[in-house]
Symmetry: C2
Subunit: 362 residues, 2 copies
């Protein structure tokens, strides 16, 4: 019998609700496989800060260190609430970025996927969705502006200024490129390399290293896209993409655009993988405005469980069952509030009902 320890960080806002549904799914998987999941809940984000004065407290670090995988809900406060917390203890700077840094989770996989049968979820016309959108953004997650030095002060003209650095070295680029090429090899053998080499010198290095790595994957076709052109193309012709690789900030923006073209950020699970540890999280925020209302979409959190099953526990078949179960719920015409606007023909169900229906399908 296999035994896995999972650190469960429910997070802020809608985090606890959608985590609750994800854990229901995990329980079913446990019951019918030769595996036990030891859940280790821990406090992380704004909730942790309010409880302990630290957004990523030592107790949580210890639990994460011991865990075989980390399941993490969204974190964050509203713009106004965030102002009440010292900037370096805000949940992003105080918890999320330290987590990424600690476990060096450089490879962030964000599927942007919508079958043709669910084209009605998307703000895009059916003819744009065609046979369905099925791409994955591979985002470098521990470099670039996110982790560069930051300098604030008053310059010699007496003006307040901020200077921050965007830095990449060839090794950081090479390892994410290998992830992207490997993934592309397993899929359509098509890799879109997203860059801004007409302005950024870091993109020039990015592209150089990409070309070096490409030689090791001669069967993968590379298509180069400027990041701005990619933002246009994601709206006009998203089905041309299969695997897209890009640096940290570009990945942040384009993956949320990905949620936009699907119809909801609630459809955006993700895996964040480092050399020795991986964590799984929805790509979206904690949506404080709808927290506690039992209306959030748990898809992204349940999808993150599926990614954990596949990547951390080598349970690809069960991962597929989870995806299929969620598609089945959609296929029956149900979804949460984000995707069941009046007139859409989709029957609205609550966060809990969504979780229950997924469990039924499993």
């Amino acid at each position: 019998m296999k035994h896995y320890k999972i650190a469960v960080l429910a997070g802020d806002g809608i985090g606890p609700e959608i985590t609750h549904e994800a854990l229901k799914v995990l329980k079913v998987i446990e019951e019918r496989n030769d595996v036990t999941f030891e859940l280790m809940p821990a406090s992380f984000g704004a909730c942790a800060y309010f409880e302990t004065g630290d957004a990523f407290p030592q107790a949580t670090i210890d639990i994460c260190d011991q865990a075989d995988a980390i399941l993490k809900g969204p974190i964050g406060l509203s713009h106004e609430e965030a102002k009440k917390i010292p900037i370096d203890q805000q949940p992003e700077r105080g918890a999320l970025l330290p987590m990424r840094r600690r476990y060096n989770t450089y490879a962030n996989f964000r599927p942007v996927s919508l079958p043709k049968s669910l084209a009605h979820f998307s703000p895009l016309k059916p003819e744009i969705i065609g046979e369905g959108i099925d791409l994955i953004i591979v985002r470098e997650l521990v470099g670039g502006l996110y982790f560069g030095e930051k300098e604030m002060g008053v310059n010699d003209k007496g003006l307040r200024y901020v200077r921050e650095t965007l830095e990449y070295d060839e090794e950081q680029i090479r390892r994410i490129m290998h992830e992207a090429f490997k993934l592309a090899s397993k899929r359509r053998k098509l890799l879109h390399n997203i860059h801004k080499s007409n302005v950024l010198k870091s993109s020039v290095l990015w592209n150089e290293v990409m070309e070096e790595v490409a030689k090791e994957y001669p069967d993968v076709k590379v298509v180069n896209f400027l990041v701005d052109a990619a933002a246009t193309a994601l709206c006009l012709n998203p089905t041309q993409f299969d695997v897209m690789v890009m640096e940290n900030m570009f990945g942040d923006i384009l993956s949320d655009q990905g949620g936009g073209i699907l119809g909801s950020l609630g459809l955006m699970p993700s895996a964040c993988i480092g050399p020795d540890k991986a964590y799984y999280e929805p790509s979206h925020g904690s949506a404080p405005d709808i927290a506690g209302k039992n209306i959030a979409n748990p898809y992204s959190m349940i999808g993150s469980v599926a990614m954990m099953l596949e990547n951390s526990f080598d349970m690809a078949a069960e991962a597929k069952n989870v995806w299929d179960a969620m598609q089945g719920v959609f296929g029956d015409g149900y979804s949460t509030a984000d995707l069941s606007k009046p007139g859409s023909g989709v029957k609205m169900i609550s966060t809990e009902q969504f979780g229950d229906k997924v469990v039924e399908k499993l």
Copy 2:
């Protein structure tokens, strides 16, 4: 009789073709107003580099210096062609960025506009377009990563690296904020401030200065959006936006996403305004793949003329006539190839025919 000198930089790729149509329109305006336009053509971009060895040659600088306004076509080469030119003479680094720097054109206005009647152009469903999209992106154009120091080398681990800096001081932020608030005051009194303050310290300063400036415009409502959330929202609910203000790189990406939601980058004119000089350009690239085929959409270039008439020559009424004429051509069911895909019901016309029809309508 007023007399204006206009530097005309047709640029690369489709630049000459669409500039040709824009100049036809300018001629009509001249004929029926008490004004003369002295056109001063000059070479700029890759074409200038191939002719003179310099992408922004001194002769062109002199012409631009003397001009009352600059009308600039798109510049640039294909990814493969660009590699044949030394990196600092590539048209973006060798011509476009030096132009922005020289004239300190910090305020870039990019309208993203589509009336309800043209909703069929957009990849978005008609219910998303609603009563029409009509927003303007106000992009800071001479700061941030675009103009920061860049350092390349080999680090102490023997690895190639690049480090570049993103810098803003309060004065750079304040002046673009004033532009944005002034514009918002004249429109729906709604300003979306786009930032990434949960990660970037420059966004923290950005927001601080925004709040200071906001006090001078008490009738403008400010809504804060993280840049990633804005990328989602531009797909899901673009009509919520009126004026959006953001730093340079964010503006680059989101404005091209804007072209995406309209249906073509060919619908994206822009104005780049500095303290003493302004230039006008399409937001898109030079599209080398379709150059010389008489199929490019000249809307963005003719729209740039309209923006020039209004901003540099105080001819708002004629500017409106130009916009109306272009809408009239669309209204008659015509457009260029980008917006007349088979089955769309739109009748395809050439670049030249589009220009001719606009002239007829004027």
